[in-house]
């Protein structure tokens, strides 16, 4: 069973400014839900509220009916919700492969006391993790760069690495903040394929912020159009992208 999110009357204020206002929507389980709208519409803020990076001033986030509002970011991550950052945020001084390995580790495996009592198993643990990490690096085409420090990669490659890191962590719900920004067109096509595969074969639930309308058109099941902190229009993808107001307000200015 794929897992879904429900947002109820989410509001987030910075000083007197409401970055997000009264947002109620669903992130459909087993589907790709798109968030579009001009810069400053509150899309990224909304994602940060879901992942616990920001605490909402109003409203609740429900994961399969369970209220997860206000949990710490790491606790939300452990519930199976992962985020791809707009600004990538890879671990720059670690090797490429370690960037992926670190997200394969379970809380239990990360206990220092367990490491000391099971020291003789460390080697086999690492080789097993490395093997698993290589699958993801091959998947995004970075296998040859595994020994490099992550900061030696180009921006596009770093983005692919953060993709690999996100997928290796095994999240059920993925929040992707502009996954195709700064990526080569050929690679965009590959990312589209990856996302479709994640949904159709691995039953993942995906929410995506995207300015590239062809990506939204080909992937999204449902689209929320945001302006000034609110969802002003939402519906099935064809419907939203075909709407005259959306075209005028948003695509007109693109």
């Amino acid at each position: 069973m794929a897992r879904g999110l429900q947002l109820k009357k989410i509001g987030k204020r910075f000083g007197d400014f409401w970055a997000v206002r009264n947002v109620t929507c669903r992130i459909f389980s087993g589907k790709i839900t798109g968030f579009i709208g001009p810069n400053g519409a509150g899309k990224t803020t909304l994602f940060s509220v879901i992942t616990g990076d920001l605490r909402p001033d109003t409203g609740n986030v429900l994961l399969d009916g369970e209220d997860i509002t206000g949990l710490k970011p790491w606790a939300i991550a452990r519930k199976g919700i992962g985020k791809l950052y707009q600004d990538v945020r890879i671990f720059k001084n670690l090797r490429v492969i370690d960037n992926v390995v670190v997200s394969l580790l379970s809380p239990k495996e990360e206990s220092p006391f367990r490491a000391l009592s099971n020291f003789y198993k460390l080697k086999s643990l690492w080789s097993q993790k490395a093997e698993e990490a290589m699958k993801w690096l091959e998947f995004v085409g970075l296998a040859d760069d595994r020994e490099k420090k992550a900061l030696e990669l180009s921006f596009g490659q770093q983005k692919l690495l953060s993709f690999a890191r996100l997928m290796a962590a095994g999240f059920d719900i993925l929040l992707l903040d502009e996954p195709t920004a700064g990526i080569h067109p050929k690679m965009i096509h590959k990312i589209e394929e990856i996302l479709i595969k994640l949904v159709e074969e691995e039953n993942k639930t995906i929410a995506i912020i995207e300015h590239n309308m062809s990506v939204i058109a080909s992937l999204a099941y449902w689209v929320n159009f945001m302006t000034e902190g609110e969802i002003t229009f939402s519906g099935r993808t064809d419907h939203v992208l075909g709407d005259e107001n959306v075209r005028k307000i948003y695509m007109g200015i693109l």
């Binding site: 990076d53 950052y85 945020r89 890879i90 671990f91 390995v101 670190v102 990360e110 000391l116 460390l122």
Partner: protein
Amino acid sequence: MNYILHLLIMIGIYSILAYSLNLVIGFSGLFSLTHAAFYGIGAYSFTLLMMKLHFPFIAALIAAFLITGFLGFLLGLPALRFRGDSFVLVTLGFQMIIFTIMYNWVGLTRGPYGIPGIPRPVIFGWHVDSLLEYLILIGLLNAVICFLLFTIYNSPFGLALKSLREDEKAAEALGKPAYRYFLRSFSIGAAFAAIPGALYATYVTYIDPTSFSLDESMFQVVILLLGGSGNKRGPFLGVLIMTLLPEALRFLGLPDTIAPNVRQIIYGLILVFLMYFRPQGIAGEFAVK
């Protein structure tokens, strides 16, 4: 010959200090100035347990390890609410407080008079008296402790710490709780600082608070900055240079009145040049921000 043995013993003591601090600075990216305080707490608790409660060597060593680790945990609880510059200042504050307690709680520590006559270790009938025997003991303990610390370095815990060091937010988004993991690394680092504290106490057979002052904390931090941190080579290299350099300077034949000052200036210059040319240290993995 004795001179060389003495140098090797000091290298042994300092390498444990550097490797324990490496977990905090190198792996967690937490620039702590409290390490000399933990070194001192280890030395004092070990000494008092041996002399007042007549604990045998090994038992006193383990007890000092646990006590210091627990105090590290207690200080970490508030300190790890902070990051960056604020964290440095909080740990500086703790270093000053602990030093002042050691200096003024005369009833317990004898304060500035120090504690003389600390017995040399006796381990299952082995009286560790000569320098050579002492070096063997330090070597054995180094082997055990390096094994433990390196296992932690190489463990998933070590990698998780590094990911938090690199980008705390991104690592938390992968399910790594920063506060909890940093608290563990800070406590473990503190606990392991107790061992060299105890070894120093039985080696010199006298301790007083001035060995555990802010200057000492700075000295240990410089070892890591110079050698580099976040791996196994850096700290040891730092220890080698910082223990052997003053000895090398001695052969310059500077008059005794100015030699210590020249040494201080050289340490200072090393820091300045490091920040310019090699902020990650000679063999380090990352640059302290």
